[in-house]
Amino acid sequence: MALEEYKGVYVFAQQVDNKLSSIAFELIGKGKDLAKDLGTEVTAILAGYQVADLADELAAYGADKVIVIDDPELKDYRTEPYAHAVASVIKEFKPDIVLVGATAIGRDLGPRVSARVHTDLTADCTQLDIGDFPLVAIPGKEQLHNQLLMTRPAFCGNTIATIACPNFRPQMATVRPGVMQKLTKQEGAKAEIINYNPGFTPDNKYVEILKVVKAVTDTVDIMDAKILVSGGRGVGSAENFKLLEDLAAVLGGTVSCSRAVVDAGWKPKDLQVGQTGKTVRPHVYFAIGISGAIQHLAGMEESDIIIAINKDETAPIFEVADYGIVGDLNKIVPALTASLKAELANK
Protein backbone atom coordinates (compact mmCIF):
# COMPACT_ATOMS: atom_id res chain seq x y z
CA MET A 1 0.00 0.00 0.00
CA ALA A 2 1.63 3.24 -1.11
CA LEU A 3 0.40 5.44 1.70
CA GLU A 4 1.37 8.74 0.06
CA GLU A 5 -1.13 8.09 -2.75
CA TYR A 6 -3.96 8.56 -0.26
CA LYS A 7 -5.09 12.17 -0.01
CA GLY A 8 -7.98 14.22 1.28
CA VAL A 9 -10.56 14.09 4.05
CA TYR A 10 -13.78 12.31 3.07
CA VAL A 11 -16.97 12.24 5.07
CA PHE A 12 -19.99 10.00 4.62
CA ALA A 13 -22.96 12.35 4.19
CA GLN A 14 -25.69 10.29 5.83
CA GLN A 15 -29.20 10.95 4.55
CA VAL A 16 -32.43 9.27 5.57
CA ASP A 17 -35.56 9.70 3.41
CA ASN A 18 -33.49 12.09 1.25
CA LYS A 19 -32.94 14.42 4.16
CA LEU A 20 -29.36 14.96 5.31
CA SER A 21 -28.66 14.00 8.91
CA SER A 22 -27.08 16.59 11.17
CA ILE A 23 -24.02 14.34 11.56
CA ALA A 24 -23.17 14.95 7.88
CA PHE A 25 -22.65 18.66 8.58
CA GLU A 26 -20.83 17.97 11.84
CA LEU A 27 -18.37 15.71 10.02
CA ILE A 28 -17.77 18.37 7.36
CA GLY A 29 -17.14 20.90 10.13
CA LYS A 30 -14.54 18.68 11.81
CA GLY A 31 -13.21 17.56 8.44
CA LYS A 32 -12.41 21.19 7.56
CA ASP A 33 -10.22 21.49 10.67
CA LEU A 34 -8.32 18.35 9.77
CA ALA A 35 -8.06 19.31 6.09
CA LYS A 36 -6.62 22.68 7.05
CA ASP A 37 -3.88 21.02 9.09
CA LEU A 38 -3.12 18.72 6.17
CA GLY A 39 -3.42 21.35 3.43
CA THR A 40 -6.16 19.41 1.68
CA GLU A 41 -9.90 19.46 1.00
CA VAL A 42 -13.10 17.96 2.34
CA THR A 43 -15.09 15.68 0.06
CA ALA A 44 -18.59 14.51 0.99
CA ILE A 45 -19.73 11.08 -0.17
CA LEU A 46 -23.44 11.40 -0.94
CA ALA A 47 -25.09 8.06 -1.60
CA GLY A 48 -28.80 7.50 -2.17
CA TYR A 49 -31.55 7.59 -4.77
CA GLN A 50 -32.51 10.93 -6.30
CA VAL A 51 -30.29 12.75 -3.82
CA ALA A 52 -28.26 14.94 -6.20
CA ASP A 53 -30.07 18.09 -5.10
CA LEU A 54 -28.70 17.64 -1.56
CA ALA A 55 -25.18 18.45 -2.76
CA ASP A 56 -25.73 22.20 -2.46
CA GLU A 57 -26.61 21.86 1.19
CA LEU A 58 -23.36 19.98 1.80
CA ALA A 59 -21.53 22.77 -0.02
CA ALA A 60 -23.29 25.36 2.13
CA TYR A 61 -21.87 23.66 5.21
CA GLY A 62 -18.36 23.63 3.81
CA ALA A 63 -17.85 20.61 1.54
CA ASP A 64 -15.32 21.40 -1.20
CA LYS A 65 -16.33 18.44 -3.35
CA VAL A 66 -19.31 16.11 -3.37
CA ILE A 67 -19.17 12.66 -4.89
CA VAL A 68 -22.75 11.74 -5.78
CA ILE A 69 -23.63 8.06 -6.06
CA ASP A 70 -27.23 7.91 -7.20
CA ASP A 71 -28.84 4.54 -7.75
CA PRO A 72 -32.24 2.92 -7.08
CA GLU A 73 -30.45 0.21 -5.06
CA LEU A 74 -29.56 2.94 -2.54
CA LYS A 75 -33.12 4.05 -1.84
CA ASP A 76 -33.36 2.86 1.77
CA TYR A 77 -30.25 2.05 3.77
CA ARG A 78 -29.01 -1.51 3.36
CA THR A 79 -25.54 -2.60 4.36
CA GLU A 80 -24.36 -4.12 1.11
CA PRO A 81 -25.16 -1.56 -1.57
CA TYR A 82 -23.98 1.25 0.72
CA ALA A 83 -20.79 -0.61 1.67
CA HIS A 84 -20.17 -1.26 -2.02
CA ALA A 85 -20.69 2.44 -2.81
CA VAL A 86 -18.32 3.71 -0.11
CA ALA A 87 -15.69 0.98 -0.59
CA SER A 88 -15.69 1.69 -4.34
CA VAL A 89 -15.16 5.40 -3.68
CA ILE A 90 -12.21 4.52 -1.44
CA LYS A 91 -10.66 2.25 -4.08
CA GLU A 92 -11.21 4.79 -6.86
CA PHE A 93 -10.35 8.08 -5.09
CA LYS A 94 -7.91 6.90 -2.37
CA PRO A 95 -8.80 9.17 0.56
CA ASP A 96 -6.36 9.65 3.45
CA ILE A 97 -9.16 9.93 6.02
CA VAL A 98 -12.77 8.70 5.98
CA LEU A 99 -15.20 9.84 8.70
CA VAL A 100 -18.58 8.23 9.29
CA GLY A 101 -21.20 9.12 11.91
CA ALA A 102 -21.45 6.75 14.88
CA THR A 103 -25.16 6.28 14.16
CA ALA A 104 -27.25 3.13 13.74
CA ILE A 105 -26.33 3.36 10.04
CA GLY A 106 -22.69 4.42 10.35
CA ARG A 107 -21.81 1.81 12.96
CA ASP A 108 -23.00 -0.88 10.54
CA LEU A 109 -21.56 0.64 7.38
CA GLY A 110 -18.16 1.66 8.79
CA PRO A 111 -16.94 -1.78 9.91
CA ARG A 112 -18.20 -3.53 6.77
CA VAL A 113 -16.34 -1.02 4.59
CA SER A 114 -13.16 -1.10 6.66
CA ALA A 115 -13.03 -4.88 6.46
CA ARG A 116 -13.49 -4.71 2.68
CA VAL A 117 -10.65 -2.26 2.07
CA HIS A 118 -8.39 -3.76 4.76
CA THR A 119 -8.02 -1.05 7.31
CA ASP A 120 -9.56 -0.74 10.76
CA LEU A 121 -11.68 2.02 12.13
CA THR A 122 -11.91 3.62 15.53
CA ALA A 123 -15.42 3.63 16.96
CA ASP A 124 -17.43 6.44 18.44
CA CYS A 125 -14.69 9.09 18.54
CA THR A 126 -15.21 12.24 20.55
CA GLN A 127 -12.05 14.02 19.45
CA LEU A 128 -9.97 14.00 16.26
CA ASP A 129 -6.60 15.66 15.74
CA ILE A 130 -3.71 15.62 13.31
CA GLY A 131 -0.41 14.82 15.01
CA ASP A 132 2.60 12.56 15.34
CA PHE A 133 2.64 8.84 15.97
CA PRO A 134 4.16 7.83 18.32
CA LEU A 135 3.15 10.98 20.18
CA VAL A 136 6.73 11.40 21.38
CA ALA A 137 9.73 10.20 19.40
CA ILE A 138 11.05 6.79 20.45
CA PRO A 139 14.69 6.05 19.58
CA GLY A 140 14.89 3.39 16.87
CA LYS A 141 11.29 3.86 15.79
CA GLU A 142 10.25 6.16 12.99
CA GLN A 143 7.94 8.92 14.13
CA LEU A 144 5.24 9.51 11.55
CA HIS A 145 3.77 12.97 11.02
CA ASN A 146 0.34 14.13 9.88
CA GLN A 147 -1.43 11.12 11.35
CA LEU A 148 -5.08 11.09 12.36
CA LEU A 149 -5.22 10.74 16.14
CA MET A 150 -8.60 9.37 17.13
CA THR A 151 -9.71 9.74 20.73
CA ARG A 152 -12.56 7.79 22.26
CA PRO A 153 -13.85 6.78 25.66
CA ALA A 154 -13.85 3.09 26.57
CA PHE A 155 -14.77 0.93 29.53
CA CYS A 156 -18.00 2.77 30.22
CA GLY A 157 -16.16 6.04 29.96
CA ASN A 158 -13.59 5.11 32.57
CA THR A 159 -10.65 5.33 30.20
CA ILE A 160 -9.82 7.55 27.27
CA ALA A 161 -7.76 6.07 24.46
CA THR A 162 -6.09 7.82 21.56
CA ILE A 163 -5.66 5.57 18.55
CA ALA A 164 -3.72 5.86 15.31
CA CYS A 165 -3.72 3.85 12.10
CA PRO A 166 -0.14 4.37 10.92
CA ASN A 167 0.38 1.75 8.22
CA PHE A 168 -2.99 1.40 6.51
CA ARG A 169 -5.17 3.78 4.53
CA PRO A 170 -7.65 5.24 4.76
CA GLN A 171 -7.62 6.16 8.42
CA MET A 172 -11.24 5.58 9.39
CA ALA A 173 -13.32 6.68 12.36
CA THR A 174 -16.93 6.75 13.37
CA VAL A 175 -17.71 9.97 15.19
CA ARG A 176 -20.25 10.41 17.94
CA PRO A 177 -23.17 12.61 16.85
CA GLY A 178 -23.61 15.94 18.57
CA VAL A 179 -19.97 16.39 19.54
CA MET A 180 -18.39 18.13 16.54
CA GLN A 181 -19.49 21.62 15.52
CA LYS A 182 -21.01 22.31 12.14
CA LEU A 183 -19.93 25.46 10.36
CA THR A 184 -22.24 28.41 9.80
CA LYS A 185 -24.27 27.80 6.69
CA GLN A 186 -23.08 29.78 3.66
CA GLU A 187 -26.05 30.02 1.31
CA GLY A 188 -25.07 29.84 -2.31
CA ALA A 189 -21.72 28.14 -1.73
CA LYS A 190 -20.91 25.64 -4.47
CA ALA A 191 -18.94 22.44 -4.38
CA GLU A 192 -17.35 20.55 -7.22
CA ILE A 193 -19.79 17.75 -8.07
CA ILE A 194 -18.46 14.38 -9.15
CA ASN A 195 -21.03 11.89 -10.35
CA TYR A 196 -19.87 8.35 -9.80
CA ASN A 197 -21.55 4.97 -10.03
CA PRO A 198 -19.59 1.79 -9.38
CA GLY A 199 -22.46 -0.38 -10.70
CA PHE A 200 -24.72 -2.39 -8.43
CA THR A 201 -25.29 -6.10 -9.01
CA PRO A 202 -27.71 -7.54 -6.45
CA ASP A 203 -26.68 -10.81 -4.82
CA ASN A 204 -27.48 -12.60 -1.55
CA LYS A 205 -25.98 -9.76 0.43
CA TYR A 206 -28.60 -7.35 -0.94
CA VAL A 207 -31.16 -8.10 1.75
CA GLU A 208 -34.80 -7.42 1.04
CA ILE A 209 -36.62 -4.71 2.99
CA LEU A 210 -40.15 -6.00 3.53
CA LYS A 211 -41.41 -3.08 5.54
CA VAL A 212 -40.26 0.26 6.95
CA VAL A 213 -41.91 1.07 10.26
CA LYS A 214 -41.36 4.60 11.49
CA ALA A 215 -41.58 5.27 15.20
CA VAL A 216 -45.00 6.45 16.24
CA THR A 217 -44.25 6.62 19.92
CA ASP A 218 -42.69 9.72 21.42
CA THR A 219 -40.90 7.88 24.17
CA VAL A 220 -37.23 8.17 23.30
CA ASP A 221 -34.76 5.83 24.94
CA ILE A 222 -32.89 8.10 27.33
CA MET A 223 -29.62 6.63 26.03
CA ASP A 224 -30.39 8.07 22.60
CA ALA A 225 -31.65 11.46 23.75
CA LYS A 226 -29.60 14.50 22.82
CA ILE A 227 -31.10 16.60 25.60
CA LEU A 228 -32.08 15.13 28.95
CA VAL A 229 -34.00 16.96 31.63
CA SER A 230 -33.33 14.86 34.68
CA GLY A 231 -35.00 15.22 38.05
CA GLY A 232 -34.13 14.02 41.53
CA ARG A 233 -35.66 13.84 44.96
CA GLY A 234 -35.65 17.64 45.07
CA VAL A 235 -38.44 17.77 42.51
CA GLY A 236 -40.68 16.77 45.39
CA SER A 237 -43.46 14.75 43.80
CA ALA A 238 -44.54 12.83 40.71
CA GLU A 239 -46.91 15.67 39.81
CA ASN A 240 -44.14 18.25 40.00
CA PHE A 241 -42.26 16.46 37.22
CA LYS A 242 -44.66 18.35 34.95
CA LEU A 243 -42.25 21.29 35.26
CA LEU A 244 -39.46 19.15 33.81
CA GLU A 245 -41.67 17.68 31.11
CA ASP A 246 -42.59 21.16 29.94
CA LEU A 247 -38.95 22.18 29.77
CA ALA A 248 -38.05 19.00 27.88
CA ALA A 249 -40.88 19.57 25.41
CA VAL A 250 -39.66 23.06 24.55
CA LEU A 251 -36.12 21.82 23.89
CA GLY A 252 -37.11 18.61 22.12
CA GLY A 253 -35.59 16.72 25.01
CA THR A 254 -36.55 13.77 27.16
CA VAL A 255 -37.17 13.45 30.89
CA SER A 256 -34.99 11.13 32.97
CA CYS A 257 -34.44 10.78 36.69
CA SER A 258 -32.27 9.64 39.58
CA ARG A 259 -32.65 6.45 41.57
CA ALA A 260 -34.44 8.23 44.43
CA VAL A 261 -37.25 9.09 42.04
CA VAL A 262 -37.68 5.49 40.91
CA ASP A 263 -37.56 4.25 44.49
CA ALA A 264 -40.29 6.76 45.38
CA GLY A 265 -42.40 5.43 42.51
CA TRP A 266 -42.57 8.78 40.73
CA LYS A 267 -41.02 7.50 37.49
CA PRO A 268 -40.41 4.08 35.91
CA LYS A 269 -37.06 2.34 36.06
CA ASP A 270 -36.29 2.75 32.34
CA LEU A 271 -35.84 6.48 32.90
CA GLN A 272 -33.25 6.00 35.64
CA VAL A 273 -29.75 7.35 35.09
CA GLY A 274 -26.82 5.96 37.06
CA GLN A 275 -24.87 2.90 37.96
CA THR A 276 -27.95 0.75 38.51
CA GLY A 277 -29.82 2.48 35.72
CA LYS A 278 -28.60 3.64 32.34
CA THR A 279 -25.41 5.37 31.32
CA VAL A 280 -26.25 8.40 29.25
CA ARG A 281 -24.16 10.92 27.37
CA PRO A 282 -26.47 13.48 25.86
CA HIS A 283 -25.33 16.80 24.47
CA VAL A 284 -27.05 18.63 27.32
CA TYR A 285 -27.92 17.16 30.72
CA PHE A 286 -30.06 19.18 33.10
CA ALA A 287 -29.70 17.86 36.66
CA ILE A 288 -32.63 19.37 38.51
CA GLY A 289 -33.01 18.73 42.22
CA ILE A 290 -30.40 15.96 41.99
CA SER A 291 -27.78 16.00 44.74
CA GLY A 292 -25.34 13.93 42.68
CA ALA A 293 -24.44 10.71 44.48
CA ILE A 294 -21.38 9.03 42.99
CA GLN A 295 -23.60 6.31 41.50
CA HIS A 296 -25.58 8.94 39.67
CA LEU A 297 -22.49 10.79 38.44
CA ALA A 298 -21.12 7.54 36.97
CA GLY A 299 -24.13 7.40 34.69
CA MET A 300 -24.08 10.95 33.33
CA GLU A 301 -20.75 12.72 33.75
CA GLU A 302 -19.84 11.92 30.12
CA SER A 303 -22.52 14.35 29.00
CA ASP A 304 -21.14 17.22 26.94
CA ILE A 305 -22.79 20.03 28.86
CA ILE A 306 -24.11 19.59 32.40
CA ILE A 307 -26.41 22.22 33.87
CA ALA A 308 -27.33 21.70 37.53
CA ILE A 309 -30.06 23.45 39.45
CA ASN A 310 -30.11 22.76 43.18
CA LYS A 311 -30.92 24.77 46.28
CA ASP A 312 -28.10 23.17 48.28
CA GLU A 313 -24.91 24.87 47.21
CA THR A 314 -22.79 22.07 48.67
CA ALA A 315 -24.48 19.36 46.53
CA PRO A 316 -21.84 17.16 44.83
CA ILE A 317 -23.60 17.58 41.48
CA PHE A 318 -21.92 21.01 41.27
CA GLU A 319 -18.52 19.29 41.13
CA VAL A 320 -19.26 17.91 37.66
CA ALA A 321 -21.60 20.64 36.41
CA ASP A 322 -20.33 23.01 33.74
CA TYR A 323 -22.96 25.48 34.84
CA GLY A 324 -24.31 25.31 38.37
CA ILE A 325 -27.24 27.36 39.51
CA VAL A 326 -27.95 27.58 43.21
CA GLY A 327 -31.65 28.29 43.56
CA ASP A 328 -35.23 27.09 43.79
CA LEU A 329 -36.14 24.81 40.89
CA ASN A 330 -39.86 25.59 41.37
CA LYS A 331 -39.18 29.20 40.40
CA ILE A 332 -36.34 28.76 37.91
CA VAL A 333 -37.62 25.85 35.79
CA PRO A 334 -41.02 27.30 34.78
CA ALA A 335 -39.43 30.68 34.08
CA LEU A 336 -36.75 28.98 31.99
CA THR A 337 -39.38 27.10 29.99
CA ALA A 338 -41.28 30.31 29.30
CA SER A 339 -38.13 32.16 28.32
CA LEU A 340 -36.97 29.40 25.95
CA LYS A 341 -40.42 29.20 24.40
CA ALA A 342 -40.27 32.92 23.60
CA GLU A 343 -36.67 32.61 22.42
CA LEU A 344 -37.39 29.74 20.03
CA ALA A 345 -40.58 31.36 18.73
CA ASN A 346 -38.46 34.23 17.44
CA LYS A 347 -36.24 31.96 15.38
Binding site: C156, I163, I309, F318, A321, I325
Partner: protein, 260 residues
Protein backbone atom coordinates in the same frame (compact mmCIF):
# COMPACT_ATOMS: atom_id res chain seq x y z
CA UNK B 1 -30.30 -25.66 11.50
CA UNK B 2 -26.88 -24.79 12.82
CA UNK B 3 -26.34 -21.56 14.72
CA UNK B 4 -23.01 -20.13 15.87
CA UNK B 5 -23.07 -17.54 18.64
CA UNK B 6 -19.96 -15.42 19.25
CA UNK B 7 -19.63 -14.42 22.89
CA UNK B 8 -17.09 -12.48 24.91
CA UNK B 9 -16.04 -12.50 28.51
CA UNK B 10 -15.91 -8.91 29.71
CA UNK B 11 -15.09 -7.16 32.98
CA UNK B 12 -18.16 -6.41 35.05
CA UNK B 13 -18.01 -2.64 35.05
CA UNK B 14 -20.82 -2.45 37.59
CA UNK B 15 -18.33 -3.41 40.28
CA UNK B 16 -16.10 -0.50 39.33
CA UNK B 17 -13.11 -0.49 37.00
CA UNK B 18 -9.66 -1.26 38.38
CA UNK B 19 -6.36 -0.25 36.87
CA UNK B 20 -2.76 -1.43 37.06
CA UNK B 21 -0.17 1.18 38.09
CA UNK B 22 0.74 1.61 34.39
CA UNK B 23 -2.82 2.61 33.52
CA UNK B 24 -3.85 -0.62 31.77
CA UNK B 25 -6.96 -2.41 32.86
CA UNK B 26 -6.45 -4.79 35.76
CA UNK B 27 -8.65 -7.57 34.43
CA UNK B 28 -7.53 -10.01 37.12
CA UNK B 29 -8.92 -7.78 39.86
CA UNK B 30 -12.33 -7.45 38.27
CA UNK B 31 -15.24 -9.83 38.17
CA UNK B 32 -16.17 -11.00 34.72
CA UNK B 33 -19.51 -11.60 33.03
CA UNK B 34 -20.82 -12.72 29.68
CA UNK B 35 -21.19 -9.56 27.62
CA UNK B 36 -24.88 -8.52 27.88
CA UNK B 37 -25.54 -8.08 24.13
CA UNK B 38 -23.90 -11.48 23.50
CA UNK B 39 -26.09 -13.07 26.15
CA UNK B 40 -29.14 -11.69 24.35
CA UNK B 41 -27.74 -13.15 21.12
CA UNK B 42 -27.33 -16.51 22.82
CA UNK B 43 -30.86 -16.34 24.18
CA UNK B 44 -32.17 -15.56 20.68
CA UNK B 45 -30.33 -18.62 19.37
CA UNK B 46 -31.73 -20.81 22.15
CA UNK B 47 -35.26 -19.60 21.38
CA UNK B 48 -34.78 -20.50 17.72
CA UNK B 49 -33.54 -23.88 18.95
CA UNK B 50 -36.69 -24.29 21.09
CA UNK B 51 -38.95 -23.24 18.26
CA UNK B 52 -37.40 -24.76 15.16
CA UNK B 53 -34.77 -27.17 16.47
CA UNK B 54 -31.14 -26.16 16.05
CA UNK B 55 -27.66 -26.99 17.13
CA UNK B 56 -26.12 -24.02 18.95
CA UNK B 57 -22.34 -23.66 19.05
CA UNK B 58 -20.81 -20.89 21.14
CA UNK B 59 -17.39 -19.58 20.28
CA UNK B 60 -15.16 -17.14 22.11
CA UNK B 61 -11.70 -15.73 21.62
CA UNK B 62 -9.74 -14.85 24.70
CA UNK B 63 -7.48 -16.02 27.48
CA UNK B 64 -7.84 -19.63 28.73
CA UNK B 65 -9.99 -18.24 31.55
CA UNK B 66 -12.66 -17.33 28.95
CA UNK B 67 -13.65 -21.01 29.08
CA UNK B 68 -15.87 -19.96 32.01
CA UNK B 69 -18.15 -18.00 29.75
CA UNK B 70 -18.52 -20.99 27.40
CA UNK B 71 -19.54 -23.20 30.32
CA UNK B 72 -22.12 -20.61 31.34
CA UNK B 73 -23.50 -20.71 27.78
CA UNK B 74 -23.62 -24.52 27.85
CA UNK B 75 -25.47 -24.36 31.17
CA UNK B 76 -28.04 -22.10 29.52
CA UNK B 77 -28.57 -24.64 26.78
CA UNK B 78 -25.88 -24.28 24.09
CA UNK B 79 -24.67 -27.59 22.62
CA UNK B 80 -20.96 -27.02 21.97
CA UNK B 81 -18.29 -24.62 23.10
CA UNK B 82 -15.15 -23.57 21.25
CA UNK B 83 -12.37 -21.52 22.83
CA UNK B 84 -9.97 -19.81 20.46
CA UNK B 85 -6.87 -18.96 22.43
CA UNK B 86 -3.24 -18.43 21.48
CA UNK B 87 -0.50 -16.07 22.51
CA UNK B 88 -0.12 -14.81 18.94
CA UNK B 89 -3.73 -13.66 18.92
CA UNK B 90 -3.29 -11.19 21.80
CA UNK B 91 -3.49 -7.43 21.43
CA UNK B 92 -5.87 -7.67 18.46
CA UNK B 93 -7.91 -4.71 17.29
CA UNK B 94 -11.33 -5.29 15.71
CA UNK B 95 -9.82 -6.09 12.28
CA UNK B 96 -7.55 -8.79 13.74
CA UNK B 97 -10.27 -10.08 16.09
CA UNK B 98 -12.78 -10.44 13.27
CA UNK B 99 -10.12 -12.08 11.05
CA UNK B 100 -9.42 -14.59 13.83
CA UNK B 101 -13.06 -15.44 14.49
CA UNK B 102 -13.78 -15.73 10.75
CA UNK B 103 -10.78 -18.07 10.49
CA UNK B 104 -12.23 -20.25 13.24
CA UNK B 105 -15.77 -20.18 11.86
CA UNK B 106 -14.55 -21.39 8.44
CA UNK B 107 -14.11 -24.81 10.11
CA UNK B 108 -17.81 -25.01 10.88
CA UNK B 109 -21.10 -25.51 9.06
CA UNK B 110 -23.64 -22.83 9.87
CA UNK B 111 -26.88 -21.27 8.74
CA UNK B 112 -26.82 -18.37 11.14
CA UNK B 113 -24.14 -16.52 13.08
CA UNK B 114 -25.33 -14.32 15.94
CA UNK B 115 -23.09 -11.84 17.74
CA UNK B 116 -23.93 -9.20 20.31
CA UNK B 117 -24.11 -5.71 18.90
CA UNK B 118 -21.18 -4.54 21.02
CA UNK B 119 -19.13 -5.45 24.08
CA UNK B 120 -19.28 -3.26 27.15
CA UNK B 121 -15.49 -3.03 27.47
CA UNK B 122 -14.77 -1.74 23.97
CA UNK B 123 -18.19 -0.50 22.81
CA UNK B 124 -17.12 -0.65 19.15
CA UNK B 125 -19.93 -2.73 17.54
CA UNK B 126 -17.46 -3.53 14.76
CA UNK B 127 -16.51 -7.18 15.13
CA UNK B 128 -19.88 -8.62 14.00
CA UNK B 129 -20.13 -6.70 10.70
CA UNK B 130 -16.42 -7.30 10.03
CA UNK B 131 -16.79 -11.08 10.49
CA UNK B 132 -19.65 -11.04 7.97
CA UNK B 133 -17.44 -9.23 5.47
CA UNK B 134 -14.58 -11.72 5.90
CA UNK B 135 -17.05 -14.58 5.34
CA UNK B 136 -18.80 -12.77 2.48
CA UNK B 137 -22.30 -13.23 3.92
CA UNK B 138 -25.07 -10.69 4.60
CA UNK B 139 -25.18 -8.86 7.92
CA UNK B 140 -28.20 -7.50 9.73
CA UNK B 141 -27.15 -5.36 12.68
CA UNK B 142 -29.20 -4.16 15.65
CA UNK B 143 -31.76 -6.98 15.58
CA UNK B 144 -34.75 -6.51 17.85
CA UNK B 145 -36.68 -9.56 16.58
CA UNK B 146 -35.61 -12.68 14.68
CA UNK B 147 -37.77 -15.25 12.85
CA UNK B 148 -37.00 -18.07 10.44
CA UNK B 149 -38.86 -18.38 7.14
CA UNK B 150 -37.71 -21.44 5.19
CA UNK B 151 -34.13 -20.78 4.05
CA UNK B 152 -34.32 -17.14 5.11
CA UNK B 153 -34.37 -15.04 8.27
CA UNK B 154 -36.77 -12.20 8.85
CA UNK B 155 -35.37 -9.64 11.23
CA UNK B 156 -36.59 -6.37 12.71
CA UNK B 157 -33.58 -4.11 12.31
CA UNK B 158 -33.61 -1.09 14.60
CA UNK B 159 -32.63 2.43 13.53
CA UNK B 160 -32.79 5.73 15.40
CA UNK B 161 -36.37 6.61 14.48
CA UNK B 162 -37.69 3.45 12.80
CA UNK B 163 -37.18 -0.18 12.17
CA UNK B 164 -36.94 -2.13 8.96
CA UNK B 165 -38.33 -5.62 8.55
CA UNK B 166 -35.55 -7.25 6.57
CA UNK B 167 -35.38 -10.61 4.88
CA UNK B 168 -32.07 -12.29 4.12
CA UNK B 169 -31.17 -15.70 2.79
CA UNK B 170 -29.08 -17.83 5.13
CA UNK B 171 -26.21 -18.10 5.83
CA UNK B 172 -26.33 -14.70 7.40
CA UNK B 173 -24.89 -12.83 10.41
CA UNK B 174 -27.10 -10.99 12.87
CA UNK B 175 -26.00 -8.65 15.66
CA UNK B 176 -28.30 -8.64 18.67
CA UNK B 177 -29.33 -5.87 21.02
CA UNK B 178 -29.46 -6.53 24.77
CA UNK B 179 -33.10 -5.37 24.61
CA UNK B 180 -33.93 -8.27 22.27
CA UNK B 181 -35.02 -10.52 25.12
CA UNK B 182 -34.51 -11.42 28.75
CA UNK B 183 -31.91 -14.19 28.82
CA UNK B 184 -32.85 -17.37 30.64
CA UNK B 185 -31.08 -18.58 33.76
CA UNK B 186 -28.79 -21.55 33.89
CA UNK B 187 -30.55 -24.68 35.13
CA UNK B 188 -29.05 -26.82 37.93
CA UNK B 189 -28.88 -29.81 35.56
CA UNK B 190 -27.41 -27.59 32.89
CA UNK B 191 -24.72 -26.32 35.26
CA UNK B 192 -23.84 -29.89 36.22
CA UNK B 193 -23.60 -31.01 32.59
CA UNK B 194 -21.74 -27.90 31.52
CA UNK B 195 -19.12 -28.48 34.17
CA UNK B 196 -18.41 -31.93 32.73
CA UNK B 197 -18.72 -31.00 29.05
CA UNK B 198 -15.70 -30.95 26.77
CA UNK B 199 -14.70 -27.57 25.47
CA UNK B 200 -12.94 -27.57 22.12
CA UNK B 201 -9.77 -25.48 22.26
CA UNK B 202 -8.32 -24.06 19.06
CA UNK B 203 -5.11 -22.14 18.49
CA UNK B 204 -3.49 -20.39 15.55
CA UNK B 205 -3.03 -23.69 13.69
CA UNK B 206 -6.79 -24.26 13.57
CA UNK B 207 -7.61 -21.01 11.80
CA UNK B 208 -8.49 -21.40 8.13
CA UNK B 209 -7.59 -19.00 5.32
CA UNK B 210 -6.10 -16.28 7.44
CA UNK B 211 -2.59 -14.96 7.10
CA UNK B 212 -0.33 -14.30 10.10
CA UNK B 213 -0.19 -10.67 9.01
CA UNK B 214 -3.87 -10.34 9.97
CA UNK B 215 -3.60 -11.68 13.51
CA UNK B 216 -2.86 -10.31 16.94
CA UNK B 217 -1.11 -7.07 17.73
CA UNK B 218 1.09 -7.38 14.62
CA UNK B 219 -1.93 -7.76 12.37
CA UNK B 220 -3.82 -4.82 13.84
CA UNK B 221 -4.02 -1.73 11.62
CA UNK B 222 -4.95 0.47 14.58
CA UNK B 223 -2.54 1.06 17.44
CA UNK B 224 -2.95 2.77 20.77
CA UNK B 225 -1.07 6.04 20.95
CA UNK B 226 -2.15 6.80 24.48
CA UNK B 227 -4.54 5.43 27.08
CA UNK B 228 -5.34 7.16 30.29
CA UNK B 229 -7.70 7.23 33.14
CA UNK B 230 -10.53 9.53 32.39
CA UNK B 231 -9.74 12.99 33.61
CA UNK B 232 -12.69 14.07 35.66
CA UNK B 233 -14.20 17.26 34.47
CA UNK B 234 -13.29 20.06 36.85
CA UNK B 235 -15.95 22.07 38.57
CA UNK B 236 -17.44 24.56 36.16
CA UNK B 237 -19.07 27.86 36.98
CA UNK B 238 -21.48 28.18 39.87
CA UNK B 239 -23.82 31.11 40.28
CA UNK B 240 -26.23 32.14 42.99
CA UNK B 241 -28.72 34.57 41.49
CA UNK B 242 -32.44 35.31 41.68
CA UNK B 243 -34.76 33.28 39.45
CA UNK B 244 -34.90 35.74 36.53
CA UNK B 245 -31.14 36.25 36.45
CA UNK B 246 -30.67 32.47 36.68
CA UNK B 247 -32.89 31.98 33.64
CA UNK B 248 -31.02 34.65 31.72
CA UNK B 249 -27.76 32.97 32.66
CA UNK B 250 -28.89 29.52 31.44
CA UNK B 251 -30.37 30.85 28.19
CA UNK B 252 -27.12 32.71 27.55
CA UNK B 253 -25.09 29.54 28.01
CA UNK B 254 -27.40 27.51 25.76
CA UNK B 255 -26.94 30.10 23.03
CA UNK B 256 -23.19 30.27 23.52
CA UNK B 257 -23.02 26.48 23.08
CA UNK B 258 -25.32 26.52 20.02
CA UNK B 259 -27.94 24.40 21.77
CA UNK B 260 -30.63 26.89 20.75
Amino acid sequence: MKIIVCIKQVPDTKGGVKFNPDGTLNRAAMLTIMNPDDKAGLEAALRLKDQYGAEVTVITMGLPKAEEVLREALAMGADKGILVTDRVLGGADTWATSSTLAGAIRNLDYDLIITGRQAIDGDTAQVGPQISEHLNIPVISYAQKIEIDGDSVIVERQYDDRYHVVKAKMPCLITALAELNAPRYMTPGGIFDAFKADITVWGRANLVDVDDSNLGLKGSPTQIAKASDKVRKGTGEKVNLDADASVEYIVGKLKEKHVI
